[in-house]
Subunit: 227 residues, 2 copies
């Protein structure tokens, strides 16, 4: 590139797509949104939502577009994951895909807004059907990254509403790490990190003692050891 006169027609170009791994927590488990393919290749298989990056569109905007089409929601946490580009990952042509992952509070989702329910479905993150393309590999990478991010940043709070209880938060961590934490130690740690602010509100209409509500204080990007 550096030492040649540039002539775009000289090079056959790959296609570029984005694929989005949309995580949420629902029914006490980590869920991933998949779309059933209606066409060749991998017709009938489940796949990550994705699509082409158009010629004048920032990559992240393409990912956002897919995300909004499938969930009906804007302003979702979105982060670039990794770029996969094995020459034979798509039987149609050379396709390089830039993967993103998104975290969303399931209360906010409005699936029907855009997609026929039979085509889009939430799957338990650890009980997935056969996936199209190399999407299994992409998902495994995303799961690794998700665990790391929960351990070292506050992105895990994206699974929660703006006001949440420490019990809610602990459940998020327990689901994703698939183990239990001691309630006293968990609270001690979260409170000592100074990442949450107590509100004056108390949850109500729960069939047990209600809990105080908290909000997140820290900014989301920051690296801060949580666990």
């Amino acid at each position: 590139m550096e030492n040649e006169i540039y002539d775009p027609s000289k090079f056959e170009r790959p296609s570029v797509t984005v694929d989005v791994i949309i995580f949420t927590i629902k029914d006490n488990s980590l869920k991933i949104l998949l779309i059933k393919r209606g066409k060749w290749p991998f017709k009938g298989y489940w796949a990550l939502p994705g699509g082409f990056v158009t010629i004048n569109e920032p990559i992240e905007m393409a990912a956002k577009r897919e995300l909004e089409e499938e969930t009906g929601v804007k302003n979702i946490y979105l982060e670039q994951l990794y770029t996969f580009g094995d020459p034979d990952r798509d039987p149609r042509t050379r396709v390089i895909t830039i993967s993103y992952f998104a975290l969303i509070n399931s209360k906010n989702i409005n699936l029907k807004a855009s997609t026929d329910a039979s085509d889009a479905q939430w799957f338990h993150a650890h009980r997935l059907p056969k996936l199209a393309f190399d999407h299994k590999k992409i998902l495994e990478y995303a799961l690794q990254r998700l665990r790391w991010k929960l351990e070292y940043t506050t992105v895990g709070f994206k699974f929660l509403p703006q006001k949440f209880t420490l019990g809610n938060l602990q459940r998020v961590y327990e689901i994703i790490f698939n183990k239990t934490f001691d309630k006293r130690n968990f609270r001690k740690k979260i409170l000592s990190l100074n990442i949450v602010k107590t509100t004056k509100e108390i949850a109500s209409h729960v069939p047990h003692r209600p809990s105080r509500l908290y909000t997140l204080r820290k900014s989301i990007g920051e690296i801060i050891k949580i666990l």
Copy 2:
């Protein structure tokens, strides 16, 4: 992508390149290899080594190719960093670039093997000239990642020869974090992590008391808190 009949000619495709940030440690500082551009755009500016991903080539292979062309060395540690694709980052056409970073022991480098020395030069990582394209942004991202990787993995050992002293290792960390560590605490930590193996060899022909040599025990990818 999922719901349309595929017709490659329907979409105007971006060009896809790789750019490689090659780090080494030389003369007690962290260095980055840059190439002087001889053509428009950014003629005369310094830029990261990079080039097009050809149509049947795995992305990482393109990065390896650039790396070997510039350093004359194979089997260098190489890791995908991030994909940059702002529509106007290259004035010629839409170019999406997948960046990689490489760590290499400076003893292994053979710059002259491939490139005219006036075109390729090592720069102090914190005293860079004006860079072409968005390469400054890419480099800043790479520096962040490098620091993180040294803190949480054993990639830092890639700056060292296979057999090294604990003093060598400490110097790598001191250069990249730009601070000094207590020698006793540093050794205590490295040895307690069980990531190095002592050899029976002793460095020799140094103008002071020679040190025992160590080799790395752990695999490189693994996440393990070092500092």
